[in-house]
């Protein structure tokens, strides 16, 4: 068995990314879609940290990108949940199919 290195971490983050993409395609509930987005953002963070550790350990840019992505993801989740709860108040459901006023 090989010693785990960059390729193993890239495999994990790639798998996590596409699991998130699969969830985003199949789910029709806004909260579960938000969970899939969190999975995708986490995989990107893992990628940045892995590249920083194994390829450029003399710099810290990947680490700072990960920190800023975490901050922006927190802001995004807060705004998204405010919108979801507002949608639930006006429509009584948070299924994406129920919000289609702009379709026609």
């Amino acid at each position: 068995m090989m010693e785990p290195g960059l390729y193993h971490l890239l495999f994990i983050s790639g798998a996590l990314f596409f699991i998130g993409v699969f969830g985003f395609f199949t789910r029709r509930n806004l909260v579960t879609m938000l969970m899939s987005i969190e999975l995708i953002l986490n995989s990107v963070n893992l990628n940045f940290i892995a590249f920083n550790k194994y390829l450029w350990p003399d710099k810290m840019d990947g680490l700072f990108f990960a920190i800023f992505i975490i901050a922006i993801a927190a802001a995004e989740a807060a705004v998204a949940i405010a919108i979801i709860i507002n949608l639930y108040r006006s429509h009584g459901s948070i299924d994406v199919e129920s919000a289609e006023e702009l379709k026609n």
Partner: protein
């Protein structure tokens, strides 16, 4: 096989299995709990890479903040014990196919590419180094993005209040 390797593979399996469960279970509350486990697994991978600070940030912000927010929104919007509606089989199959093809493409590219590492001496990602760099205004400092992110967080805070406010000024 050393202990470090065993821990790495256990963390990887834990993360990926809980991620798959989080996107495939039909109980929405269980999905949130599996998402929590996935985030803890990713934090464990950061600990494994010896990036302690970012692992702590991951646990505080994601596990302590975003997951709790998601669980609260589930409490506010779902009926108890109600399953998510079953999706069409065709949609599931095509989504799985698209995700798998994308994954295979990315992995083929990654394994064909040979990364070359720098030979420069490594900087330890300690909190002191991170803090000096984060608020540095010299070359390679991150003071300006730091301030921009703080403005963004303030804007998100005000935006949440505005969106969540009840707009009924007419009733007396």
């Amino acid at each position: 096989m050393s202990g470090s390797t065993i821990i790495f593979f256990m963390l990887a399996a834990f993360t990926l299995i809980s991620a798959v469960m989080a996107v495939s279970t039909r109980h929405i509350f269980r999905a949130a709990i599996f998402l929590l486990f996935t985030l803890i697994g990713v934090a464990g991978l950061y600990f494994w890479m010896q990036y302690d600070f970012i692992a702590a940030v991951q646990i505080i912000v994601y596990v302590g903040g975003i997951t709790v927010l998601i669980i609260f929104s589930i409490f506010l919007t779902q009926q108890a014990g109600e399953l998510l509606p079953k999706q069409k089989m065709g949609r599931q199959i095509f989504s799985a196919l698209a995700a798998f093809c994308g994954f295979a493409l990315i992995m083929l590219q990654v394994y064909q590419h040979s990364f070359n590492q720098t030979t420069a001496t490594a900087i330890e990602p300690t909190v002191a180094n991170i803090g000096n760099r984060m608020l540095g205004v010299n070359e390679g400092g991150y003071a300006l993005p730091f301030e921009v992110v703080s403005i963004l967080l303030l804007a998100a805070l005000i935006g949440c209040i505005v969106i969540a406010m009840r707009s009924k000024p007419v009733t007396s």
